[in-house]
Symmetry: C2
Subunit: 171 residues, 2 copies
């Protein structure tokens, strides 16, 4: 998986349905290692494992789905086991929470600070992560006009990704 950085405002694009996902996972774990080392955080085996499970696909995954998978290797994992790991990962921006689905998704670029803008495919459940300045600006402009002090934005767009649209119309 190759990431395009710089001034693009796409943090993580939709991946082809047949991309090499193991590489995505490996990249994400490597990025997390670096990120934690840099900030002196303890990236424990449990946290690493939970992050890996969140990355099991590009789609959002629920805490209890994570729990179930987690139990393959940790028989007595309980909800707090998962939620504590998720809290850690969220706090350090390694994952995001999709509010409209009560689910979690890996962050496409933990090094870069950004707000939550997501395109979510209803069909394949993949998520693309954005940091679109135009969207942010449009929100800020309106908020400013109303004297509203923005602290946090949630933008979650449901629809059909290009690949699923193509597959649907082809047959």
């Amino acid at each position: 998986m190759k990431k395009v950085k710089g001034d693009t405002q796409i943090i993580a694009p939709f991946q082809s349905h047949k991309h090499d996902h193991e590489q995505c996972v490996a990249d994400a774990l490597a990025a997390a290692e670096i990120c934690c080392k840099k900030e002196g955080l303890s990236f424990t085996p449990l946290r690493r494992l939970v992050l890996e499970l969140v990355w099991s696909s590009h789609g959002p995954i629920g805490a209890y789905d994570i729990l179930e998978k987690l139990r393959d290797s940790r028989r007595n994992a309980a909800p707090p086991t998962v939620y504590r790991a998720l809290d850690f990962l969220m706090e350090h921006r390694l994952i995001h929470r999709i509010e409209s689905l009560n689910a979690y998704v890996g962050c496409g670029d933990p090094e870069r600070h950004h707000g939550g803008q997501f395109l979510i495919c209803r069909d394949c459940h993949a998520v693309a992560e954005l940091d679109d300045k135009a969207i942010g600006r449009a929100v800020s402009r309106r908020a400013d006009a109303l004297g509203f002090d923005v602290q946090q934005q949630t933008v979650e767009v449901i629809g059909l990704c290009a690949e699923c649209t193509a597959e649907t119309s082809n047959g």
Copy 2:
């Protein structure tokens, strides 16, 4: 309460902390009556009551908070009692769901079709409802560029409303 319509993109503004809220409720109920009559929907006492409870403030209210209040007059109300009414009200756009809070808020203008854009005050919990074309366009533009077919937008902005900001800085 007076509503400004036309080309403004503010569906429901923040209300002064000391506005005449009974009028808001009365207006909302009247609008709902009209809306249901026009579409041949049965606006039953239960649904009316639940809508009234949702409108008990301009802030989002949780289903179980509604349930508790509902029980003042309907002793054996149960979760489905509330959720079915909420489903009806949502389906006919009389209320909106705030995803990031798992809560519900009255719709400021049921006659007008619009997507969900909300400014939510962390302090007084009031919600302003928008239909800002610039925000919608910014989202569409980026989505189009990615071949993403938008079906539904959720924009929820947390922060501090003007009045609360003023009160905070004044002491």
